[in-house]
């Protein structure tokens, strides 16, 4: 409306400099205009205020609204999966109120397993949560159904990776989405993941190359060797280092073959006479060859020992053993793993090197070697736990919890399988004595691992000292609340 624009323009510069003329107002208001001009006398401000007031009401009484027929509006597709039950939806509401993201993940996982979706009213709250807690994104999108898919397209903040069109996501996604899709592809089809990376490698910047190389750890295999070995010409030092690091974890790489060559020469079986020459025993002799290829040190093996009581040669052999697949020793000595460990343990230096074999067994997974190494009472091979069967793992953890609680608490927190009641009790007996370190946040963040069956045992974990005992009482109330929700989740999807 031009007249209103004129009114605003006049207001901006003031009636001292500009006045509204009758011609600037709509013709239909002419009669009233004349009346106002007559009544206001010579007061320019009064005339302006009256004219503008008149025009404002004229404008608001005849408001003309925008009419757009051509704006395309999309609609969500009908749902293909059923909604979760009303009980499950109610529990979801309570889980959201409890502000325990891992309990939310637990709910979403049950929902996804049951091929159900949550009611659309939860979409904004859950998408916002998924934006903060990225690990929830896949599940949230999966459980939001067609409505969620439609809403992802309307809000760029919710443009989550949906686990579909993986190749397209790899080509066009954000770096984070590309990392996710590469990781998933490497898990299921490592060769395809490598092909994708090789196709775009030249166009990636150094940070991207480094990020994607880190992803290549997933599904690392001999097929990756030629690509990784070709990276020695890369400009970025960090990229080159990461490539070498990956080669050090890939059996069959020229680097590991080189380590093995040196070790084959350095670790030899030797017969030693004893009992005044009447009998002999077989022991291992550790001696580095006179010349060690420089490529070994270039790959990150340290030349000098940092400890006075360990010689440089011994330190080098230790490092080489830790980067050599244990299966190498089976071929080298033509012995079984248990016989090899016996052989190593015959000398002090040999026993020292079994520590490196333990490290190698975690770098190059082998359940047989892992089970063998954890029998060493004097050492903790925490990295090997993932290779153990659930029974072996539980036994191992319970055995060492009292003396190595600090270390084991970290480890058990990183597992994905729910703890057993006895392990949970052992953990709580440890954590309840230190309420300042293990606050409610600790229990909230591990609620997915805590079994509901531990509830009757909670009071039995009460520490003897008064302050920790009071704090544990409060923690128990909180735990009961969360575990009750966990049980309700379970029941709501199983009823």
């Amino acid at each position: 409306m031009q007249s209103w624009e004129d009114v605003i323009h006049t207001a901006m510069i003031g009636t001292d400099k500009k006045i509204l003329s009758v011609s600037q107002l709509p013709e239909s208001l002419a009669a009233v205009q004349t009346m106002l001009t007559d009544k206001s006398g010579n007061d320019k401000e009064i005339l302006y205020l009256q004219q503008s007031s008149l025009l404002m009401n004229y404008k608001q009484c005849g408001l003309s609204l925008l009419q757009k027929e051509e704006i395309g509006t999309s609609m969500a597709q009908p749902e293909e999966k059923p909604y979760c039950s009303a009980v499950a939806a109610q529990v979801l509401k309570e889980v959201l109120n409890a502000e325990a993201p891992l309990l939310l993940e637990y709910w979403l996982r049950r929902c996804a397993e049951n091929e159900q979706i949550f009611p659309p009213v939860f979409i904004p709250a859950l998408f916002s949560k998924a934006r903060q807690e990225k690990y929830l994104q896949g599940l949230v999108v999966r459980c939001s159904g067609k409505r969620g898919e439609w809403m992802c397209g309307l809000n760029e903040n919710w443009n989550f990776y949906r686990g579909e069109n993986t190749e397209e996501t790899w080509q066009t996604g954000t770096q984070e989405q590309r990392r996710t899709v590469l990781k998933e592809t490497r898990r299921t089809n490592p060769a395809l993941g490598l092909t994708w990376l090789q196709q775009t490698w030249a166009t990636e910047d150094a940070a991207g190359k480094l990020a994607f190389l880190e992803v290549l750890k997933t599904g690392l295999n001999e097929g990756d060797i030629s690509f990784l070995e070709s990276l020695h010409t890369e400009k970025s030092k960090k990229v080159k280092e990461e490539a070498v690091n990956l080669l050090k974890h890939t059996p069959g790489s020229s680097l590991i073959r080189l380590y093995q060559q040196v070790l084959a020469e350095a670790v030899q079986v030797k017969k030693e006479r004893s009992l005044m020459g009447l009998s002999s025993k077989t022991v291992l002799q550790f001696k580095l060859p006179s010349s060690v290829p420089e490529a070994i040190f270039e790959s990150g093996i340290q030349k000098m020992s940092s400890q006075k009581n360990i010689s440089d040669d011994r330190f080098i052999i230790y490092q080489l053993i830790s980067f050599t697949p244990p299966v190498f020793w089976e071929q080298h000595f033509q012995l079984k793993p248990v016989e090899i460990i016996d052989l190593f343990c015959k000398t002090e230096e040999g026993y020292e090197h079994t520590g490196a074999i333990g490290m190698a067994a975690s770098r190059f997974p082998s359940p047989e070697w892992a089970a063998l190494m954890i029998e060493d009472e004097n050492r903790l091979f925490l990295d090997l736990i993932v290779q153990l069967s659930p029974e072996q793992k539980e036994k191992y953890l319970l055995k060492h919890f009292e003396k190595a609680g600090d270390t084991l608490i970290q480890l058990v927190g990183n597992t994905t399988v729910e703890w057993s009641v006895s392990l949970t009790k052992a953990i709580f007996k440890y954590t309840s004595t230190n309420p300042n370190q293990f606050t409610k946040t600790y229990y909230r963040d591990h609620i997915h691992l805590i079994p509901v069956g531990v509830v009757p045992e909670l009071t039995r974990c009460t520490p003897s000292e008064s302050y920790p005992a009071v704090a544990w009482g409060n923690t128990c109330d909180y735990l009961r609340e969360l575990l009750s929700l966990k049980e309700q989740i379970h029941q709501s999807f199983n009823s």
């Binding site: 901006m12 998408f127 309307l154």
Partner: protein
């Protein structure tokens, strides 16, 4: 009475109470609980030896609890109501215990006494004298304000963003001294214009003109019998004796509580309840002012239907009302609203033609679809007319999630130039957004 969880939570005085109430809405926390058609009651085990006794009057929602909390309703009241909404069947339908019946009787007695309360004799001569004195003060304030407005117009509004809060506040305070609190609020709103917005000049000028219309209108018509004099007096800040108003016959209808808005300034909470009468098809605004720490008399929650007699404040466009009598009702018919924006603008134009200064108002509009256009969200009706949504980021995703792009009947607050969505109907259920 069936209230949804969201409706019950809307009764909470603050976020902390909501959270605490949700935490206590757990069967294991309640020693006993019961309900009948008049009330809900329950005993909640707190930290003390005796459980807290919480009770809710259902006929005219009110809470009472034996806990020491100064919040109203307290977490126990909220939790009891939530638990009742979730698991009605678990409440025993026994005779109410003595502590419940006693409270209900006291409430009934109090209401009767209130109704029977006689006014103290009024000294009419003194009253007229007071009114004249106030009128003089208001007129002086208006003269001062008009000079200020004229100065702004003469010098131009371009310098307004540099004036700052004290410049406007100073004038607002002078209006308070002149016993014109309504004008003071209007001046404050003028100073609160978003000067960072691209077209701040338009809302600023509109507010300035409203101030001019009200002051000029009062100067011209204060002694006359013009029908809109009550509107002018109301905008200036004259109050009306509510007891006298209550003596008038009101409109009895089934009223749906459409929305509740509240804000707190200087420890005084103002709650606005927007209502809609199903039979009379009238909208109403009921205001409640509470000082922090004091219990409120009204406990209405959006989506609640009440059978009530409302007396409207005199106006050419009656909107503000007070509740004379209130009863519980089982009626929960879905109201019919305007069929599209043309009907809304026509109704609004009629109101403007009777009095050019209008506050916000609610309206129910049928079959609206939220659409994005020009980096903004709009509500489009069946004939493709569109009105922009104000503060869309607040609830647009909620609206879209529920609608899935389908048109819905909505409750809006604002004016046809810009609206906020307060609630929507989905499958016959009223949802707050």
């Amino acid at each position: 009475m069936t209230l949804s969880e969201d409706q019950i939570l809307a009764l909470a005085p603050d976020e902390a109470s909501k959270k605490a109430g949700l935490g206590l809405a757990n069967m294991s926390k309640w020693v006993s609980k019961g309900a009948n058609e008049l009330a809900i009651w329950g005993e909640c085990q707190g930290s003390g030896s005796k459980p807290y006794q919480a009770q809710i009057d259902l006929s005219n929602i009110a809470f009472k609890c034996s806990c020491p909390s100064r919040k109203f309703p307290c977490k126990h009241g909220l939790a009891l109501f939530l638990l009742y909404a979730r698991q009605t069947a678990s409440f025993s339908i026994d005779k109410a215990p003595a502590w419940v019946t006693e409270w209900l009787e006291k409430r009934a007695e109090k209401q009767e006494k209130k109704a029977a309360k006689e006014e103290a004799p009024v000294d009419e001569a003194a009253q007229v004298k007071r009114q004249l004195a106030r009128h003089d003060k208001v007129m002086n304030g208006i003269n001062e304000l008009q000079l200020w407005i004229k100065d702004i117009v003469r010098n131009g509004i371009l310098s307004m963003p540099d004036k700052g809060f004290p410049w406007f506040e100073n004038v607002a305070k002078r209006m308070v001294d002149a016993q014109a609190p309504g004008l003071a609020n209007m001046v404050r709103q003028l100073g609160e214009t978003n000067f960072f917005a691209e077209n701040w000049q338009q809302p600023f000028l509109e507010q300035l003109l409203k101030l001019y219309i009200v002051t000029e209108g009062y100067q011209q018509h204060h002694s006359g019998e013009a029908p809109f004099l009550q509107d002018l007096r109301s905008w200036i800040g004259f109050t009306i004796n509510q007891d006298e108003l209550k003596e008038q016959t009101g409109i009895t209808d089934t009223w749906l509580v459409l929305a509740k808005q509240s804000n707190e300034v200087d420890n005084v909470t103002t709650e606005k309840y927007w209502l809609y009468g199903l039979e009379q098809k009238k909208y109403a605004l009921v205001l409640q002012f509470t000082v922090r720490g004091q219990g409120s008399q009204l406990s209405l929650t959006p989506g609640l239907y009440i059978q009530a007699e409302l007396v409207f404040f005199p106006s050419v466009n009656p909107m503000r009302a007070l509740i004379k009598r209130q009863l519980n009702t089982q009626n929960n018919n879905i109201p019919t609203g305007y069929s599209g924006w043309d009907e809304v603008t026509a109704a609004q134009s009629e109101m403007y033609s009777r009095f050019p200064v209008q506050g916000e108002r609610p309206f129910i509009v049928e079959q609206l679809t939220a659409v994005p256009y020009n980096n903004q969200w709009w509500l489009r009706d069946q004939s493709s007319r569109m009105v922009p949504i104000r503060n869309a980021e607040k609830n647009i995703w909620h609206i879209l999630a529920i609608s899935g792009g389908q048109p819905l009947n909505m409750v809006l607050i604002g004016n046809p130039a810009q609206v906020e969505v307060a609630g929507i109907w989905q499958e016959h259920q009223y949802l707050l957004v």
